[in-house]
């Protein structure tokens, strides 16, 4: 692939990326979230069309417009959450992939040549959604091989696997390499990359920042390449004067249905007047941790407490006056009612003002307009539908709603994702203001720049476990990068 460029609405996902994969090699693609790994591979697999650039495969120029084109050319992709039909049996799923006739015998015959390379080891009659992720992935790998795929893309396959299953997968990858096929292995886990890859390409901010022989690299060097150097920061002026612990996560574990636990004995305390940043690559437990803190989910064991009292489910927060602001990751889905006007969205906050039993329209609209103006939302018209705002302004509405009532704690998840620089800074300044007011702020973000710019203490989430927190002065980006990649360089 050379000179690949792909721009989405306002982000450049791939910025003139070139990548070369040799026959019979395992090539790792390493990068932080949003580095462009998945977009690049989606382009190769025909799921996304590039704006510019050339793809050549086995000496021929190809232009895959659909996954079908890619498969015909000999390129296959296995997704992290395999795209199999859950309620159907393994044999039926193989049939959908063009293997056999849907019966167990037919499927067994059809996959016989392949299973010499990769044993399927799956009950063909089993419903796919009763199988662990590792077996579902194997079904997809077998389906790809049946199409005579010479280049197999594995998109973060290990994120959903237990350590034993990872070992098994690595054996399979070795076999694929042994059979002369190439494998592109997407990951952010440094140890895995160092173990399995022949060469490593690091992507950062949509650019290829270097391809290296894995043998010539160390985990530390890869980590540094992955996270890069700090960019311009917001000013975090005053020294923090943290008070007592307000928000506590105490030994919380959430066991997953399949695979490894989503969270494992996470413990953390956030004091008033401080921001604790949780760094980590997406998919390492951010979502379950956030859902726990948002009151949307209960821990299998352990508790989340505010001022020493266990947090109730979110449905009882208003009644029990839990003063925690929540800024969700997905503002369009969780944060806002897109089809409703802004004033209604503002009324959904943790502590909307009392307007008496009958909501006087004018009083509500006046309050909403004042709030919108205060938070610089444009247009500051409370009757505008949320859907008609830009992403940055939508996020400002969420911030206005959540921080407007002067909350005593804030939990924010990727609060600036997808925003332009200006909106980003405004949102970050609001978080700093909340801290200045004495709120206990927990910032879960996959953007390392943001973590370092805002946090008084930094912890890293990897594989559902928390390391740290460390005082911001005691941890540098390289160390954080190592921890994010699962290497405790000490």
């Amino acid at each position: 692939m050379s000179g690949i460029v792909k721009e989405f609405a306002n982000v450049t996902a791939c910025d003139d990326v070139s990548l070369e994969v040799a026959g019979g090699e395992v090539h790792a693609l390493l990068g932080e979230n949003g580095a462009g790994k998945t977009t690049l591979m989606n382009i190769l697999y025909g799921l996304v069309r590039p704006d510019r650039g050339v793809i050549e495969f086995e000496g021929r120029r190809i232009d895959p417009r659909t996954p079908g084109d890619a498969l015909t050319a000999g390129i296959g992709m296995v997704h992290q959450h395999p795209l199999v039909v859950g309620p159907m049996s393994v044999a039926e799923n193989l049939f959908l992939g063009g293997l056999g006739d849907g019966t167990q015998d037919g499927a067994r015959a059809a996959i016989a040549p392949i299973t010499k390379t990769i044993p399927l080891d799956v009950d063909l009659a089993a419903r796919v959604d009763s199988l662990p992720m590792s077996q579902r992935q194997r079904i997809e790998i077998v389906r790809c091989l049946a199409r005579d795929v010479r280049l197999l893309i594995l998109d973060e396959p290990t994120a959903v696997l237990t350590p034993e299953e990872v070992e098994q997968l690595f054996i399979e990858i070795e076999r694929l390499r042994g059979s002369g096929r190439s494998v592109i292995f997407i990951s952010h886990k440094l140890s895995e990359v160092m173990r399995i890859a022949d060469r490593v390409t690091v992507l950062r901010g949509g650019r290829n920042v270097g391809t290296h022989e894995a043998g010539a690299m160390t985990a530390a060097k890869l980590a540094a390449a992955m996270v890069g150097a700090a960019t311009g920061d917001v000013t975090r002026s005053d020294g923090s004067k943290p008070g007592r612990v307000r928000l506590e996560v105490d030994a919380c574990t959430i066991t997953g249905r399949f695979g490894p636990p989503e969270l494992e004995r996470c413990t953390l305390g956030v004091r008033s007047g401080e921001i604790i940043g949780i760094a980590g690559v997406e998919g390492n437990g951010q979502r379950p941790l956030a859902e726990l803190l948002f009151g949307l989910r209960r821990a299998t064991s352990g508790t989340v407490r505010f001022d020493g009292r266990a947090l109730p489910p979110v449905g009882r927060w208003q009644a029990s006056k839990v003063p925690i602001a929540r800024i969700p990751e997905d503002r369009r889905h969780h944060g806002l009612l897109l089809g409703a006007p802004l004033w209604q969205n503002l009324m959904l906050g943790p502590q909307p003002p009392r307007f008496g039993p009958v909501l006087a329209r004018r009083a509500v609209l006046d309050w909403a307009r004042t709030t919108l103006e205060e938070y610089g939302v444009r247009p500051a018209d409370p009757t505008t539908l949320a859907a008609n705002l830009s992403g940055g302004n939508q996020q400002k509405v969420v911030i206005a709603r959540e921080l407007g009532g002067a909350p005593e704690a804030v939990v924010a998840v990727n609060p600036t994702r997808g925003l332009d620089i200006r909106a980003q800074q405004e949102v970050q300044e609001r978080l700093l203001q909340a801290r200045g007011r004495g709120a206990a702020v927990l910032l879960i973000s996959t953007d390392l720049d943001e973590i370092f710019a805002l946090s008084d203490s930094i912890a890293v989430l990897y594989g559902g476990r928390i390391t740290g927190p460390f005082a911001a002065a005691e941890i540098d980006r390289d160390r954080a990068g190592m921890l994010m990649g699962g290497v405790d360089g000490g």
């Binding site: 929540r326 944060g335 009612l337 897109l338 089809g339 006007p341 209604q344 959904l348 906050g349 909501l359």
Partner: protein, 363 residues
């Protein structure tokens, strides 16, 4: 239920849309009537006379509008919660059943019996709607299916009862109950306005207060706009779901009871000629807003009444009359579809912009 219905639209646009729809319906209706060899002028006149020709016509039209409109307002409220209540029919029967039992077997002053009958019908029908709400909230069952099933159960329950246990012993075997005593019947205010119409207006105002002026109404609308965001915001989604269905059911029951006490005076198994489904169409035309639904319901009532009268006077065959009604309702629903409203808004914006550019351009 996506979209923004009930908000940010001028009256002018509403009138324009409605007029275009009615013109379209009139055109198609004319084609149908001409094809059937009927004289257009006579037919239109008969419909008009039947709807609002004289005091009697207006009274009958209002009586026709009451059960449809009250039920439709309930449907509209559920609608705003993202719930499709197709159970109006069953809720009407259950409510009327409760009311007729009270009216026939409770011996007390008329006003007291009326009040108790109204409350009883709302409780019974509310519970009936609540069943679908609970099934949806707790088991995730589609209320579309469960309300239809509950319709069958309610209808056949009433059918059984009016052919047996509560059948009029002097009714020559007809499947209906005895007539309710005169003091329990709802009369007229003046000579034209039925008490039920006042009830209908009161329900409309109450529903408007609930939906547009109360916190609970906000929660209902929030749920309809986005379940995930509502749950995130801490709204008790199951409770709001159930309450919305209870309200819808209760209003269905009230609608049925208004007709029972005000018009029919007996419960039979041909009590409701499909009001539950007319109510769904009405709520769609009203775009889920209580006031819009009130207006739409009154219009549908007048239209129905007019067309029914025309059946008699202008010799329009009953089947054709029903087709006419269907055409009008369909056109109104199309004109009020979210997509159509949005297209209209965009068209207006473009026209306005075009005008603005024309002004800016130097002459």
């Amino acid at each position: 239920m996506g979209g923004s219905f009930g908000f940010g639209e001028g009256v002018g646009a509403l009138i324009a849309r409605t007029s275009i729809a009615l013109a379209g319906a009139a055109l198609v209706g004319a084609l149908v009537l001409t094809a059937a060899g009927l004289d257009l002028a006579t037919t239109w006149e008969a419909i008009y006379e039947g709807a609002i020709g004289d005091e009697l016509a207006i009274r009958n039209s209002l009586l026709e509008a009451v059960p449809i409109t009250i039920t439709a307002i309930g449907v509209a409220i559920a609608f705003r919660a993202g719930l499709f209540n197709l159970g109006g029919q069953g809720q009407i029967y259950v409510g009327a059943l409760a009311a007729v039992l009270v009216a026939l077997y409770l011996h007390a002053p008329g006003a007291v019996v009326i009040a108790i009958a109204l409350v009883a019908s709302m409780l019974a029908a509310g519970a009936w709607g609540g069943i679908a709400g609970v099934l949806r909230a707790r088991l995730g069952l589609s209320e579309i299916i469960t309300t239809i099933m509950l319709n069958f159960i309610a209808f056949w329950l009433v059918s059984y009862l009016v052919r047996g246990p509560i059948q009029d012993p002097e009714g020559d075997g007809y499947p209906y109950t005895r007539e309710i005593p005169e003091p329990v019947q709802l009369g007229l205010i003046g000579d034209v306005v039925p008490v039920g119409a006042v009830l209908m207006l009161a329900v409309g105002v109450a529903a408007w207060l609930l939906m547009d002026r109360s916190r609970f109404g906000l929660k209902i609308k929030a749920l309809g706009e986005g379940e995930a965001a509502s749950r995130f915001a801490g709204i008790a989604v199951p409770r709001v779901t159930i309450v919305a269905m209870v309200i819808a059911g209760a209003l269905g029951g009230l609608g049925g009871t208004a007709s029972l006490l005000g018009v029919q005076h007996r419960l039979s198994d041909f009590f409701s000629p499909g009001w539950g489904f007319d109510a769904v169409a009405t709520a769609l035309i009203g775009r889920g807003s209580p006031i819009g639904t009130l207006v739409a319901g009154v219009f549908i009532g007048f239209l129905r009444s007019g067309i029914q009268t025309a059946e008699g006077t202008a010799e329009v065959p009953a089947a054709l009359a029903q087709i006419l009604l269907g055409v009008v309702v369909l056109f109104l629903i199309i004109a009020n579809a979210d997509l159509v409203v949005r297209l209209g808004r965009r068209l207006r914006q473009r026209l306005a912009r075009g005008r603005g550019e024309a002004l800016e351009r130097p002459a």
